[in-house]
Amino acid sequence: MGQKLDLALAVLNGAVGDYLVRTDNGLALPMDLYLHGEPVAPTAAALSAAYPDATARVVVLVHGLMNNETVFAMPDGRDYGALFRADLGLTPLYVRYNSGLPIADNGAALSALLTTLVSEYPVPIEEIVLLGYSMGGLVVRAATHAAALSAAPWLPLVRRALYVGTPHRGAPMERVGRIVSAVLKAIPDPYTRLIAEVADLRSDGLKDLGDADLRHEDRARRGLHVRLRDPQHPVPLLPGITHHLVAGSLSEDRWVRALFGDAVVPVSSATGWRSLGEGLDPSRVRVFPGLSHAAIPRSMDVYAQMREWCEAR
């Protein structure tokens, strides 16, 4: 399958992936492990064939909205997964999924996939490192939340979770879109209502980004506001896992950081900002000035920081 087609499908799924699933459309992407652009079935035979040199420590890489695992690729062809493999012996497992589905659904699917993985993987897994970029970080959090509720066997293997450019407190751009859509709908004009209807076609996954909704019930809290009224996220970071947060910023300037962050996610959202529960050690949060949202999933500086974190026992 061509890389361009794969990316087009990723964008389509991010935009209207929930509709594709509801209408049983063949363009909907199921959640799968991918290696070199091809799916790897979570069966013992397929995993043994795909990972002949599988190690007992794995890093699971989860991409963001409207992209796939190629978002981690650097110009020289390496990516965070390959670097972790070379430097720390972690076997990289790339997850591809339909980013238009609700984050809660993708979290549950990831939990189920990892449950299958630990039983089918070629060697007993001793450690799982979770790495989520942008929406992928929220999917990781939703998966750990679902796993904690169901006592999934893979959860005790997770020592560390890395969040790269993840909007832990939501994405203001989506909240602005929500308001614009509501205003257009309120205007008694058929044309503006049509525009609002088209805007409302955006996927559940995209809408979940507004307030970083990790559970279906969290959607009831949604309101028409750009600023967050409630600074406390309803799903705090799971205890028992060491969480590391990476944020990008277009500039070192205080105002640019506060207003624009990495151009998509404000720094305050990517670093949690008083919302993720007590005890988030400041040494586990790092802001990289000069890194945009597009650059942060493939930066050697970010990798060096993540490696340093992972090397610390």
């Binding site: 459309n25 063949g26 058929p190």
Partner: protein, 94 residues
């Protein structure tokens, strides 16, 4: 063609059909609402109210016919494409 490619081709066909179906329905609604407003003004003016009412009814019928035709053709094209995809993905006898 692999089963995945075939499923995706059918998916693309279905998605394009959905876009035309729902898009034409939405545009028809806007068209009708806008026209209704104009005709409502004309129908409130006694000297032209009768003619305006006839024109309104004719306009409504034409709208129903035109947009209905678009959707009928869309469905027919969809059925043809479904058959073509099925036929072209049948295993060769040779």
């Amino acid at each position: 063609m692999s089963p995945t490619d075939k499923r995706r081709l059918q998916g693309l066909r279905a998605l394009l059909q959905d876009v035309v179906e729902h898009g034409s329905t939405a545009v028809e609604r806007v068209h009708r609402t806008t026209a209704d407003r104009t005709f409502a003004v004309l129908e409130a003016i006694p000297p032209v109210a009768g003619v305006a009412k006839v024109a309104h009814d004719v306009h409504g019928a034409v709208l129903t016919g035109v947009y209905g035709s678009i959707r009928q053709v869309n469905r027919a094209v969809g059925e043809v494409l479904t058959a073509v995809i099925e036929e072209s993905t049948k295993p060769s006898r040779e």
